[in-house]
């Protein structure tokens, strides 16, 4: 039997026993445990905090995405409304322009020669515009249109610019160059159409003649 006094106190070992007796004086005296405080701190569960954090993060991200979606939808709606408004209310805005602003600024036309540094070309263009405006005014007056509805040269220009912006350009369809076969087919089709057209013409003439003849015959019978 293997005895190990040092490990499990089985058997005998005088040397270790002597050391035990020698060091016995340092042994712990029987003391009581410290008294606990009356109130016990209850700490929140960490796992709950974690789950709450995750849930909060998910909810926040969902809310943010929802808000962004709403924002994007609003922008889309506003764009559509703006398009509609610009198409429907464009003339109204021109109508509501005050009377003073509806005249061409005379300062440009009546500027003294020495101060007028604009090139001669600009002058002639403005004069032309003024004449066209006068013509337009007279034409409108002849058609008994209310004076407030008359558009000035500036406003006409603005309106033209607005129209240019607002009117959507129709995409031009590119015509494909025809191949030889297609050209031949096209010619054949034209020929066939011309033949059928001529035939139809003959038929039409015959029908009209017949109608005329019948009418004559009927008239004769009536007179008889």
């Amino acid at each position: 039997m293997n005895k190990d006094y040092l490990f499990d106190k089985t058997g005998e070992d005088a040397e270790i026993e002597n050391l035990e007796n020698l060091l016995q004086g340092f042994r712990r005296k029987n003391t009581t445990a410290p008294m606990l405080p009356v109130k016990v701190m209850v700490f929140p569960n960490k796992t709950r905090q974690k789950t709450f954090r995750y849930a909060f993060a998910i909810a926040a991200s969902l809310l943010i995405t929802f808000m962004l979606g709403l924002f994007a939808l609003n922008i889309g709606k506003k764009d559509a409304q703006n398009d509609n408004l610009s198409e429907n209310n464009a003339p109204q805005t021109f109508k509501s322009i005050p009377e003073e602003q509806k005249t061409v600024p005379q300062t440009i036309l009546t500027a003294p020669e020495e101060k007028n540094t604009a090139p001669q070309v600009l002058k002639t263009v403005l004069q032309k515009k003024n004449t066209t405006l006068q013509k337009f005014k007279t034409a409108l007056q002849e058609k008994s249109i209310a004076p407030e509805k008359i558009l000035t040269a500036q406003n006409v220009n603005k309106y033209a610019l607005y129209k240019q912006k607002s009117v959507k350009t129709i995409p031009q369809i590119k015509v494909k160059t025809l191949t030889d076969e297609e050209k031949f087919a096209y010619e054949q089709l034209k020929l066939a159409l011309s033949i059928t057209g001529s035939k139809l013409k003959i038929v039409k003439e015959k029908i009209y003649n017949a109608e005329d003849f019948n009418s004559v015959v009927n008239k004769k019978t009536v007179t008889k």
Binding site: F7, D8, L23, G25, F26, K29, A33, V40
Partner: protein, 196 residues
């Protein structure tokens, strides 16, 4: 020829695992976890039980690292610190090792805070007496490596067996045995005793 016995149930591994788990949970709930739960609820008797079970180990650890006069106070501080932080203990089974760490930290903190002092002999007039001899032996044990001095003090001063030391510190009995024998060998060399 050795007979190989086939298991009746092909899922014997799963069954074995399940029973092992059940046993593990049963033990955990019955002993350390209940003790920790009771302490968390402010049960004084549970705390007394903890003190009774682990104070020899804590005392030995602190004695191996700090002056003898301070040991009693430091032991009390260790248990109070343990009580304050018991909620941070994740594994109730490892409470022994956890307390040992607190004790080591407490001893280190004591040395960090206090000014260096020279410990005087309790009885200078009785030079060469048995008490002084004991103190000398204790000082020699304290000079040994950490793993050896703690286990030797637990064994020689507190009188714990190897299995009790293993149970309280969380070490395996084999490693405790090794530590004891190696520590004893070093102690013999330092004391000038011819060992076996």
């Amino acid at each position: 020829m050795s007979e190989t016995r086939m298991p009746d149930n092909i899922f014997f591994l799963a069954d074995r695992k399940q029973t092992k788990e059940n046993r593990f949970f049963a033990e955990e709930i019955s002993a350390e976890e209940k003790l920790v739960q009771d302490i968390c609820n402010g049960n004084q008797t549970a705390f007394d039980e903890l003190y009774r079970r682990f104070s020899p180990m804590i005392y030995s650890i602190i004695l191996s690292r700090s002056p003898r006069d301070e040991v009693a106070d430091l032991v009390q501080e260790v248990f109070l610190t343990a009580y304050q932080n018991i909620k941070t203990l994740r594994e109730p089974k490892a409470i022994g090792g956890w307390l040992a760490i607190i004790a080591r930290n407490q001893a280190a903190e004591f040395y960090r805070k206090s000014k260096p002092t020279e410990e005087l002999s309790e009885d200078l007039s009785h030079a060469g007496s048995r008490k002084n001899e004991a103190k000398e032996v204790l000082d020699i044990i304290k000079s040994l490596p950490e793993a050896y001095k703690e286990t030797l003090i637990m064994r020689l001063v507190e009188g714990l067996t190897g299995n009790e030391i293993a149970e309280q510190t969380g070490l395996t009995p084999e490693s405790v045995r090794v530590n004891l024998h190696r520590g004893m060998k070093l102690l013999r060399e330092k004391l000038g005793i011819a060992g076996k």
